[in-house]
Amino acid sequence: MKASPVFKSRSLPWLLLVPTLAILLVFLYFPVIQSFVLSLYRSNLFLGTQRYIGVENFRNIFSGTLAPGFRQVLLQTLLFSGVVVASGLAGSLALALLANQPVRGARVYRLLLIWPFALSPAVAGTIFLFMFNPEVGLVNQLLNALLGIKPRWLDTPALAFSIVCMAAVWKNLGYNIVFYLAALQNVPAELGEAAQIDGATGAQRFLAVTFPLLSPMTFFLFFTNLAYAFFDTFGLIDIVTAGGPVGAPPFDHAGVTSTLIYKIYQDGFGGAANLGFAAAESVVLLALVAGVTALQFRFGGRRVYYGGA
């Protein structure tokens, strides 16, 4: 529905848009162009040197000595995102369903479940770092007292990977529960009751009624959680493992908890300070983001129940 404009002016609307557009053009669109430009150079952060080398950075990413590291990190990022998104959504949906029941004190339960919304990745990381500290952490002190074992959580590749996953899921529970609770409040109770009269069990009701009605929210949360796993978990990883530890072959080319964004940070701002190579990796990541976005639009209109028409 398009209504006719109220105010008439040629210049004023542009003046109103200039602050937003100028910031976005200078600090987002221009850097996009620059990441393509920089990816064609050998550029050192500390020395400030720049030399045009064509597509050599990309050749290094996809074949050559640096390729196995990139492939490993790419695989890890996908695995990490898969675990974080799947278990994060399943867990928070279960908790939201639980908190949506009409019991006494439901408000209190809801509050207790959604407060992790205020957690930051860095805080979640800090608390987990202490809990899983091999000597003074709570987990090992309990395990030592009960079973007499003290696993080196953060130095053991598989364990470190799972701890980062756990902390990442925990941090995002509040956010997901807030949105699932809001969506559940829009599910009409009559539908569930009608199904119950027809003899549907709780599980059947969930699968046939509630879950399809929640699909737009699940769709929305799938992509926000994917972005979270790709980018926002940086602080958590930096604090808990700093991207390490290096795994056993074939995971021996990089730290097992390094995600793509972490690798970009390490390559560009770490010891090698190779901004050009990091920029080339950013271009690949940009392409990945564009691909995911295309998927989002491709399936956005379908398969998802949007209510009404």
Binding site: A3, S4, P5, F7, K8, S9, P13, W14, L15, L16, L17, P19, T20, I23, L24, F27, L28, Y29, F30, P31, V32, Q34, L38, S43, L98, A99, Q101, R104, L112, F117, A118, S120, P121, A122, T126, I127, F130, M131, N133, V136, L138, L142, A145, V178, A182, N186, A227, F231, D232, F234, G235, D238, I239, I264, Y265, A279, S282, L286, A290, G307
Partner: protein
């Protein structure tokens, strides 16, 4: 029926407990002495204020929190203002290029700053050009602008400018205000115009008061977004006295042995407080202005 209700309570208590465990642990440890904190003891001690004081003053968390509060409030206000203006322009005017402008803004929703960390660092950190003449000669040459690496930048490393100015635009905000303004009856704007109100007065007197929920929802999202920022301050701020709180937390943990866990936990808890407060205060607006509108 009674049994299932009892079961629901039990499940809810267990669920809440598991979600709370890490923070309960942090709370208890933040109250213990330097020696007790390293033992398995989970008995609360009486050292909370001492730990808070130590982390605030000695470990300089106070400085980090002040920096983050200042930057987060400034960015929240800045984003809200630019988004309100853009929303006004997009809904109540008609002009050539409107769709292009809107799409240009909307597309950035899909573009996380983190992907651009390398070129953004380059743009912000490099030294500024010698003068306007040098800048103009660069800007006039499309080959230099679009095809070669930047020779100059803003020279903003280690300043709050780097943490604020690049974030003064909000695609989410523009999008939400546009949606909200379109749902406001046209008659109001017509009436305001008949009374002789210009667009800006219409914004101040009518649109802003009618947008409390949307403004509240945005404030929550944006405040939390800036408060939680990590990667950008980590690379662009190298001076400790200017650092933001999340990176500051990592500085407080420090490296290697001898971490003062009691006050690190106190610091982690203090870092949660401001977003928790904002969220509690604006929870209603947030749910009404954002969460509910998303599910439609």
């Amino acid at each position: 029926m009674r049994r299932t209700r009892w079961l629901s309570h039990l499940l809810l208590v267990v669920a809440c407990f598991f979600v709370m465990v890490p923070v309960l642990f942090a709370v208890i440890k933040a109250t213990q002495t330097d020696t007790a904190v390293l033992t398995p003891s989970l008995l609360p001690g009486g050292e909370l204020l001492i730990n808070v004081h130590a982390v605030w003053v000695k470990a300089r968390l106070g400085v980090f929190i002040r920096n983050s509060l200042f930057v987060a409030l400034l960015v929240t206000v800045g984003k809200t203002l630019t988004a309100l203006l853009a929303g006004l322009g997009l809904v109540y005017f008609s002009f050539r290029g409107k769709t292009v402008a809107f799409v240009l803004i909307l597309l950035t929703l899909l573009l996380p700053t983190e992907v651009l960390i390398v070129p953004l660092f380059d743009l912000i950190a490099q030294r500024p050009p010698a003068g306007w003449a040098a800048f103009w000669s660069w800007l006039r040459d499309p080959v230099k602008v679009f095809l070669t690496p930047l020779p100059h930048g803003f020279g903003w490393s280690n300043t709050f400018l780097a943490l604020t100015i690049p974030f003064f635009a909000s695609a989410t905000g523009v999008f939400l205000f546009r949606q909200h303004f379109m749902s406001i009856p046209r008659e109001l704007a017509d009436a305001a115009k008949m009374d002789g109100a210009g667009p800006l007065r219409f914004l101040l007197r009518i649109l802003i008061p009618m947008s409390a929920n949307t403004i509240g929802a945005l404030a929550v999202i944006q405040f939390v977004y800036v408060w939680d920022q990590y990667l950008w301050p980590r690379v662009i701020i190298r001076r400790e006295d200017l650092q933001m709180v999340q990176v500051g937390l990592n500085l407080i943990i420090g490296t290697g042995e001898g971490v003062q866990w009691g006050y690190v936990m106190a610091g982690a808890l203090l870092t949660i407080l401001p977003p928790l407060l904002v969220f509690m205060l604006l929870q209603e607006q947030f749910m009404r202005g954002f969460a509910l509108s998303q599910s439609k």
